[in-house]
Amino acid sequence: GSAVSVLAAGSLNDALENGLRERVDQRVTVESHGSARVARLVAEGQKDPDIVAVADVALFESTLRPDWYAEFATNSLVLAYDADSQGGRRVAAAGTDGWWQPLLDGDVSLGRTDPDLDPLGYRTLFALELANDHYDTETDLRAAIPDPAQLYPETQLVSQFETGAIDAAFTYRSMAVDRGYAFLDLPAAIDLGDPSLADQYGSTSYELPDGTVVSGAPISYAATLRHESGAANAVFEALIGDGYLTEFGFTVPEAYPRYTGQPPDGVAS
């Protein structure tokens, strides 16, 4: 039969391409864009995939409103650094407990993505705000560290980082693992990776240009099945269930997959 089409968040691309694909017998075509774009492309009818997977549950509550969805993995923020650069080595030396100090000192060129365009962008701001309390810093990190000059579109951020133009960048753990970056794991209290800390994360927020306010929440990947068929159902099951995700830097909590709304009978059996 024809291939099962998956439209997925860019950060899932490696896991789906190189993990999921070889675990299923069905032919799968994976297409990836930024999560926000994935949601818009489907919402506005420009793409009509069998399965949609996004990096932020919020997109399933706002832009795209499927009847049901399954959360199937979490991701966390890490601070990737370029071990070949002086700034990068400073970050590494400061370690999990002190990484913010060299950033404050200004001798690290930091990169992050645009909070207006990209969940990774505002999640970085959340992490900085959460770090204030966690490390009990004197300076407000969320106010002191960000600088518009650090902003890049995601593609450019990665290219800049990989070509050594940036010493350190906030990124998803999965991405750092996929690409073999050197990175610092951040404490669970600030890395947005632990669903049990949802309330704590929720104390932070960011206002998008259109006035929408997004609140801090665990980075939870969600997927929905839009067109049921034997093949699509099987691929969906594999996508949300199989253990391949941890190999690619994701975390699959005990409670996952977790359903919101009523999945059809063929799913979640």
């Binding site: 089409s5 860019g10 391409e17 190189n18 075509t29 990836s32 420009q46 009509d48 996929d178 690409r179």
Partner: protein, 261 residues
């Protein structure tokens, strides 16, 4: 005339021009060279064993070939017609041909989706007929044709305008149809310009990414494959594939030009 030796020389403009031209050439070559040089040949060659890369290569060459052929088949008549039309109609229609160039390819792709997408009349009709216009080879060709064929039209039009239309009148009064006239008189004279346009169009089609990714994504072309490699594994995976693309494109262009002359 003894004063001849004193003829004002001023700055040596030829040298200045050569330097300017050489600088631009360097600006083209340096990045490409840096790309090629940074990839060890064996790494590049190993990509030729990757079935994804080979598939993308095949799709790229085939789709660029088809969209160049389509652009030529439809575009050369359009160019001819524009060249033989005068006044406001010509200006207006030529402007329409340039419009696709002005749109960023991703926007072109989005807009094309509103015309040939799966839930449009055209797209739905074609899909039920077994030829889906998106996520298909046809989608790749449609995207590439939209973005690349205007170069064929604009360049071929300039070439046709260089052919004296009295030669066509002469041919026809000798009893030859317009088709024969174009084939044996106009096209041979305009050929170098038409071929230059076809070359530009093919090259642009090979490099097309934005509209392709909106309209098709599958089957993957080389630019999409580079994108996938980049987004799964970063530059170190993407650049070797880009070098393969360059190699394939150069070979194709050489073949195209050899066939064309």
């Amino acid at each position: 005339m003894a004063s001849r030796a004193e003829t004002a020389r001023g700055p040596d403009w030829l040298a200045v021009a050569t330097v300017l031209g050489a600088l631009l050439l360097c600006y083209y070559v340096l990045p490409v060279l840096s790309l090629v040089a940074s990839q060890p040949p064996d790494v590049v060659l190993s990509r030729l064993d990757d079935p994804d890369v080979v598939g993308a290569m095949t799709t790229s060459v085939a789709a660029s070939g088809v969209s160049t052929a389509v652009g030529t088949l439809f575009g050369v008549p359009l160019a001819y017609w524009l060249a033989r039309t005068e006044g406001r109609t010509e200006t207006l229609l030529t402007a329409l041909v340039v419009l696709p160039l002005v749109l960023p390819p991703i926007v072109s792709g989005m807009v094309l989706l509103t015309v040939v997408g799966p839930d449009t009349v055209l797209g739905g009709f074609a899909a039920t007929g077994g030829l889906p216009l998106t996520r298909s080879f046809a989608g790749v060709v449609l995207a590439q044709t939209f973005v690349a064929s205007p170069f064929i039209v604009v360049t071929a039009k300039a070439a046709f305008e260089g052919v004296d239309d009295q030669l066509e009148a002469a041919s026809r009064s000798l009893g030859k149809s317009r088709a024969t006239t174009v084939r044996r008189v106009t096209l041979p004279i305009a050929w170098p310009g038409v071929l230059a346009g076809v070359t530009l169009g093919f090259a642009r089609a090979m490099g097309e990414f934005g509209a392709t990714i909106m309209l098709a994504y599958y089957p993957r072309t080389m630019p999409v494959q580079i994108w996938v490699s980049f987004s799964t594994a970063g530059l170190s995976e993407a650049f070797p594939v880009a070098v393969v693309l360059l190699g394939v494109a150069v070979v194709s262009l050489v073949v195209l030009n050899a066939l064309g002359t």
